[in-house]
Subunit: 434 residues, 2 copies
Amino acid sequence: LRPRQGTRDHPPAQAALRDRLLGAVVSCFKRHGAAAIDTPVLELRETLMGKYGEDSKLIYELQDQGGELLALRYDLTVPFARYLAMNKVTNMKRYHVAKVYRRDNPATTRGRYREFYQCDFDIAGQFDPMIPDAECLKIVHEILSDLQLGDFVIKVNDRRILNGVFAVCGVPESKFLPACSTVDKLDKVPWEEVRSEMVGEKGLSPEAADRIGEYVQLHGGLDLIEQLLQDPKLSQNKLAKEGLGDMKLLFEYLTLFGITGKISFDLSLARGLDYYTGVIFEAVLLQQENEHVEELVGVGSVAGGGRYDGLVGMFDPKGRKVPCVGVSIGIERIFSILEQRLEASGEKLRTTETQVLVATPQKHLLAARLKLISELWDAGIKAEMLYRKDPKLLKQLQYCEDTGIPLAAIVGEQELEDGVVKLRDVATREEVRM
Amino acid sequence: LRPRQGTRDHPPAQAALRDRLLGAVVSCFKRHGAAAIDTPVLELRETLMGKYGEDSKLIYELQDQGGELLALRYDLTVPFARYLAMNKVTNMKRYHVAKVYRRDNPATTRGRYREFYQCDFDIAGQFDPMIPDAECLKIVHEILSDLQLGDFVIKVNDRRILNGVFAVCGVPESKFLPACSTVDKLDKVPWEEVRSEMVGEKGLSPEAADRIGEYVQLHGGLDLIEQLLQDPKLSQNKLAKEGLGDMKLLFEYLTLFGITGKISFDLSLARGLDYYTGVIFEAVLLQQENEHVEELVGVGSVAGGGRYDGLVGMFDPKGRKVPCVGVSIGIERIFSILEQRLEASGEKLRTTETQVLVATPQKHLLAARLKLISELWDAGIKAEMLYRKDPKLLKQLQYCEDTGIPLAAIVGEQELEDGVVKLRDVATREEVRM
């Protein structure tokens, strides 16, 4: 009976907390007008291959038992793109909350599992620039604020700016993606290590790496955007100029949303996945000195996303593109934080919603209990009883206290004779006959 | 882009209908005081093997990519039993709504898929006989009544009665399970075919088969229970006597619940799975002459379950038993029925909950829209806007009509100057300035 590596059961207390958390996230998605869709956990192996870069090796494949070659979905974005192409949908705002699967090294204390929930919100369609992108960032801001996870920053960058940087630093186009996935490690390791991977593993020239280093260590706000728009080299690069222009527009919209205080234009942000084509972003919780809870979990990315304008076209026989931008909320990390916080607070979450326990104080009254509880259920009232013929009243009241049931509906011989029920408030012990 | 066999995407309209359906089922489970748990889709291969009889061949296995040998869960009952044993839980009332996986021949028009939802409610623990069992039947009755699926019958039997029948008909104990899975086919094929499978494939004597035939074609109510309790052969069999005694008690409780009108004690009900040990039941929708909807889908089992007192013990190193009884709601078939009914009615289900569209009647007012919508979101109001810089007012109002948004909040140049918003009721075209 060993547990399976990197997966976990959720007992009732955890399931209740997770329901509450998912409820908050979904309610934000609905507030922004998204519709739900559902796609299968099982996808064709070929649908997933070639979409995740180096991480494709983490895809779970099913045994060939005859029929199609299947795999478990790795994220919700690729299935969404497959769905859009398959159904020729060119315009959609959807959310999807479901489990995804990765044969990764589990680090369960930091909320990293092999089977875990993703909560995605995406906007597909040809629209005016940066309006949907700004809404995705607003959503991240709303959710992280609502959940009161402490201070956070949302890093923003654009793949076009990064590619422009690579180009003006003398990196050949064929090495943009490898260079990108190396830059992505800057949030975990110092620049020196990233530089040596660029030069060693990825085969960039030391001079190119040094030039990249000067750019990717920059971060700031509107001022930095203006500065880079004036940069003699970058301003000559078409991609970078487009990216910077859109970044400026994005900041304008985020100012109207009143959230630029938490936004950082950060050139080191690269995001690992191959499919991003424009704006990318990632939200990070900031370490709080005085709160041991965050320290236990370790800070890290709790939301991320970006624009992927080419992915749907990869699934369309004619290559028709549907521009998309989306965000994924890292629910498992947030769950780990909330769980430890709940534990520290000593608060006990109710795992059921039962309003009343139907109880009897004497023996031979099972029939009365069954009749009354049946009436309550039929009236839509959440009711329980002990599955005993003749339970002691004390035991029945104890069950209420243990599980947080606020009321007991008591039918004894006297009540039966009088045609009434005694309703008892478990906490105050007040009783009324009705 | 072929669809994967036996799976399906749920577009928004279907997802909304399914949410409504699952909501009704879960709300019944909560009304009966159940807590939620969650277990992984991935289980160890060895956990699932040897639990499903002939159907074990339908289990999806994962490729051996190093590490543990994994499989996709086949139902929610075996993982629940594994959960109880692993956590030494001896007492629990839980529900679980999640997807399960079977490499079956899909028959998607009849709601039979390879990936599908199960909605399970189970009561684990040592209690007085038939009280939890009666509650499971009450739950089926409540759900099928609430969903207004038309007339139905809940067939009830007991594995101990069936085994008693086999014993008194001269079947050796080693052939009880094969005989059981043959009897289970009686709802689909006539007795002659079942008899010939018993004699041919399962190796029962023709005399034994004939004697079984006399019993398993019986069905009725309390009168049949009394009759069998007087049966000269059956009444001598310990198992059958126990089963019949409990069946009588069950009918007593179901009478108090007022639901015996829909219950049929049916000796042909056997249920396919190996793990049942006591009461078993299955709910069937009855064909309705005048409603073409049901005919399209085909009638069939929409809920089933029973008592499995030995399953948890199979996972406990010391074989400690935890008696369990539970019910599974066949949500996919019900969904197919509701879907066809919705289609026939022409009713259009809203797929979003948006309350208000933020609109502008003139050009160059994007900033005003972004500011207002941001305020609405922050106030918890479900709001959308078109992702265009300068959309035509007509287009914006058309979007409301297409998606069912009841209100439009309009800010034009005049409103901006006056510091007001014009709120328009999309259906009545009434407008108020506020």
